[in-house]
Amino acid sequence: MAQLTHRSANLLKPISAAVFATRGLTTASTTPITVETSLPFTGHKIDPPSRSVETTPQELLSFYRDMALMRRMEIAADSLYKAKLIRGFCHLYDGQEAVAVGMEAAITKKDCIITAYRDHCIYLGRGGTLLETFSELMGRKDGCSKGKGGSMHFYKKDSGFYGGHGIVGAQIPLGCGLAFAQKYNKEEHVTFAMYGDGAANQGQLFEALNMAALWDLPAILVCENNHYGMGTAEWRAAKSPAYYKRGDYVPGLKVDGMDAFAVKQACKFAKEHALKNGPIILEMDTYRYHGHSMSDPGSTYRTRDEITGVRQERDPIERIRKLILAHDLATEKELKDTEKEVRKEVDEAIAKAKESPLADPSELFTNVYVKGFGVESFGADRKEVRAVLP
């Protein structure tokens, strides 16, 4: 996961080591530590993995830093949206960071990930930079989709991130296709197809499960259960909110999605399982702090107490902070400094992204078809009537 800290040479320095060097961590940073997951896993048609997870001081510190960075990024996106610098629909991930970070810690960039529209942090986890993130959010050329996708459509081909999908549930069967290709090519890689608790009620999920199981595809279906699909609580929409069991003949595992180590353990386990036996569902029990999207204050269908309760008792960053302090890997002050660093990085990236030019208007016509196939259209002033554009 250290790669998250090496994202961009100019904007991001690999600071984890430097910050904590005072405590001699650079040398001891790879000494194994064993931590216990917050809760035991619950299995469906499978024996769950052990609660003991191996880690290192380095990993603990990078989990902390990476999640703090994600959170800061999402908070900053909120402000940019309110300042109308981000347009379109924007869905934030704060609260769910442990899923992105834990998953990456268990897999490689050769494994594929595909998700819905709540995609900023997954992108960052795949090695995307803050500059690309903020540029995309603001529709700039330096964005990961050249500014053409916006918040909901982040992609990173070189590290197997297939995005960034707007139609709820549609990405799940796509994930099966990716997994089929991986299996066919005899790659020892898997696909993580992510979807929400709301999406779990779409028929496409069940079609995907059947195909994946029928053909023993190395597909891991990750249900990020944040307990709400927009304003609808899971129990209002699902007869059985035990999403890990809803694959029936497909085994499942319920995971505390607020515990990065539980996520890491589950993903490692799932990858091994999927390569040997085919699909598995991982239900990540998680929580989004923000409303569904920027137009949702997030407080009409749930109580403030519920949100504060989760923040106090289950916050994924807080959990790692406590572990770091308990193992005496850093001081409170050092952790604060990390937060400051992260904040600075985010601010610098935003400043830089603001300098990136807006996507060129001619890009409106590109990528509709393969270049050269042409598309008949005309410009804003109707001057290029019937021109064949590249």
């Binding site: 529709g139 500014g147 139609i167 109707r382």
Partner: protein, 370 residues
């Protein structure tokens, strides 16, 4: 910039109100005249200015009130829906008649067809028109053909599917599309799109009570923006009847929904250049009122059609072909189409994509000077 201009244009066109003595009085412009309201009772008790989502809400209240077999459902509908169109319905009529569905469009529409087949009025909401595609099969293969293939034993005439469509200024790829043309290719369903609050209320009630399945697209840009006087009581506006909302002699403009306010802007501008435009609101796209358009084109000799959906295969093409068939000898210029571009609906390029007033003005002039 362009999009904010457009927003202002919409605002000024739909609502013609001025405040005198702290009260709202109508100046009645583009928006409908009360004369075409087809109500049993022509004396209106009260006409309050309301916005489009409230007009829809009124219509749904009336539909549920007047027919105990009417049901309203969809994603988050029990809470009022994302655009507040169903606010208060669950409280008033109970959770058995107004309810949330899971997130499953294909299921929602299939369920609605079954409910309607038992003689009920199934009023299903699809949260955005962009999300109607998972239900496309149900609409095209089940709803549209139920009556035909059962030799009239069964039908789902009580089915009305409501879905917000169109641009909002910055909605991006999956919150802005105008998919009406896909449904216009399907005999057996009706497609209706209102342009204003009053129209929305009267047309929606007609759709709900029409004995055929109807897809009703609501211009979401106007939900809050368009305000006009809407009679509080129950009234219906006829389907498959177009309306001439502005008379003119040089060119006929045909459109529907939110696009009409942009078109009216163009008419006003063209008038300054001495071009007299006739503007027609089609309202029902299938089966459409060819006669009204034909009569108008026979008068003006020119036709321009405009919609937000991409130009190729849009419903404008159908209108153009039909009018060329009917008015060939009378036409003095090729039919002009000012439409969305043949690209996916863009996020940052929305102002370039949209059929704006200036594009329309340009087309009006080149058609008149052909």
């Amino acid at each position: 910039m362009a999009s904010s201009l457009r927003r202002i244009a919409r605002l000024s066109l739909i609502s013609r109100y001025t405040s005198t003595d702290g009260r709202w009085n109508t100046l009645r412009g583009l928006s409908t005249a009360t004369d075409d309201l087809n109500s049993p009772n022509q004396c209106w008790t009260s006409n309050k200015p309301v916005n489009l989502f409230s007009a829809i809400n009124q219509a749904l209240h009336i539909a549920l009130e007047t027919d105990p077999r009417a049901y309203v459902f969809g994603e988050d509908v029990g809470f009022g829906g994302v655009f507040r169109c169903t606010t208060g319905l669950a409280d008033r009529f109970g959770k058995r008649r107004v309810f949330n569905t899971p997130l499953c469009e294909q299921g929602i529409v299939g369920f609605a067809i079954g409910l309607a087949a038992m003689g009920n009025r199934a009023i299903a909401e699809i949260q955005f028109a962009d999300y109607i595609f998972p239900a496309f099969d149900q609409i095209v293969n089940e709803a549209a053909k139920f009556r035909y293939r059962s030799g009239n034993q069964f039908n789902c005439g009580g089915l009305t599917i409501r879905a917000p469509y169109g641009a909002v200024g910055h909605g991006g790829h999956y919150h802005s599309q105008s998919p009406e043309a896909f449904f216009c290719h399907v005999p057996g369903i009706k497609v209706v799109i209102p342009r204003s609050p009053q129209q929305a209320k009267g047309l929606l009630l007609s759709c709900i009570r029409d004995p055929n399945p109807v897809v009703f697209f609501e211009p979401k840009w106007l939900y809050r923006l368009a305000v006009e006087e809407v009679p509080e009581q129950d009234f219906m506006l006829p389907l498959s009847e177009a309306e001439v909302i502005r008379e003119g002699s040089d060119i006929t403009l045909v459109g529907w929904g939110a696009q009409l306010s942009i078109m009216e802007q163009a008419c006003v501008e063209a008038e300054k250049d001495g071009i007299s435009c006739e503007l027609i609101d089609l309202k029902t796209l299938i089966p459409w009122d060819k006669e009204t358009v034909e009569a108008s084109v026979n008068k003006t000799g020119r036709l321009l059609v405009s919609h937000e959906a991409p130009i190729t295969g849009g419903f404008g093409a159908e209108i153009s072909a039909s009018i060329v068939e009917r008015c060939f000898l009378r036409l003095e210029a090729p039919v002009a189409r000012v439409c969305g571009l043949d690209t996916p609906f863009p996020l940052v390029f929305e102002p370039f994509y949209l059929p704006t007033k200036n594009k329309m003005l340009d087309a009006i002039k080149s058609t008149v000077n052909y």
